[in-house]
Amino acid sequence: MTTLLAIGTAKGLFLATSDGGRSGWEVSGPHFPMTGVYAVAVDARPGAPRLLAGMTSSHFGPSVATSDDLGASWDEPEQAPVAFPADTGATLGRVWQLVPAGPDEPGVVWAGTEPSALFRSTDGGRSFTLVRSLWDHPHREQWGAGFGGQAVHTVLPHPRDPQRIVVAMSTGGVYRSEDAGASWLPGNTGIRAYFLPDEWPEFGQCVHKVARDAGNPERLYAQNHHGVYRSDDDGRTWTSIAAGLPSDFGFPMVAHPSRPGTVWTFPLIADAQRFPVDHRCRVFRSADAGGKWEPLSVGLPEQPFYPSVLRDAMCAGEGGGVYFGTRSGEVYASRDDGDSWSPVAAHLPDVLCVRAAEI
């Protein structure tokens, strides 16, 4: 087996591959140079693996490209793969998220975008259609924009029930559908929005990332703009799991691909101090769904460390693989669930996203 790690950066996509025990890496790129690659996906469903990249040129706008030969060549449709219909009056800022649906829906790929919207593809990511039900949601006019823009940055199809899907946006919060996206309800009960006069609103929270527990898909984990939470009812209600973390601020939240209860995050000091806590490069892991947390730093830099890890710049794969990239262009991998780490690449542009797959 070969491990493929797709690394989206502010100036292109890099592809790292490693055979066997992931002891060494070969890195190619940049693919799509001088574009910000905010979204990347490896569609590993049956059939040839397909890479999907959502890139944005500051000059020439956003697009989505696919590769069926592991990045040796890329194909970008003539017509814009993701575009807002004329009647919306909106224009695509960028694609923030590309997520293949479950194995029961071959060809279905979801895209989360800026401005906050959800798109669905039925041809493996070659073309997408706006999900009108979310775009027409009466709350939409009240969704706000964080510093990174207003975007649906998280899309979580249910692995066994195609009717159920969860999305999250900044700002706006979590929304859930139980009818395959035909209708949506907010799912933010219990999540505090300290930056609003009403700190417990129905929606408007600034969720940074949500992860679904692969072994127990009713369980979700959320890293918020201050606040770390768990839901045991598919996002209806949330309870804090921040106790034991050195800070409740951060961006990523990653769940183990198969083992229930194991999650990772990368805490920063605070909203106004977006540096790693104690200026130390440490990942935090919980093996009991947020009951306890432990720092992980073996193999990571020991000197004072200042870069942050963005919301999609951490991921987990099979075989104990955990990966993250920093805004200083360093990428690290673990092959033992985070107990120890080794470098994959350094001196890349700011890392925006990483995704791994065994191919």
Partner: protein
């Protein structure tokens, strides 16, 4: 007929050509509409889905920045030269 000069970063969309001719005139929008028929991917690099010029792409009509003469409605005479240039942007 109008000549469209294609900047280096976009020539890959048109087989490496640096200049194209299109059977259109009247306005920048009309020229870009005609461009989109044959080269839709090139056209969407220049305009967004609302038909507006992308913020950091400039279009000059016979040397005049079209943003000063009406934007996509800027007049383009038959035989004009339309030059597409990415503006100075990025870091």
């Amino acid at each position: 007929m109008v000549t469209v000069l294609v900047p280096g970063p976009l020539r890959g969309e048109v087989g490496g050509a640096s200049r194209l001719t299109v059977e259109a005139a009247g306005s920048v929008g009309a020229v870009l509409d005609a461009l989109a028929v044959s080269w839709p991917r090139l056209a969407r690099r220049i305009r967004d889905e609302r038909g507006e010029l992308r913020r950091y792409v400039n279009v000059y009509v016979d040397g005049e920045d079209c943003r000063h003469t009406g934007g996509v409605a800027a007049p383009v005479a038959d035989g004009a030269e339309v030059r597409v240039l990415p503006s100075v942007a990025g870091g």
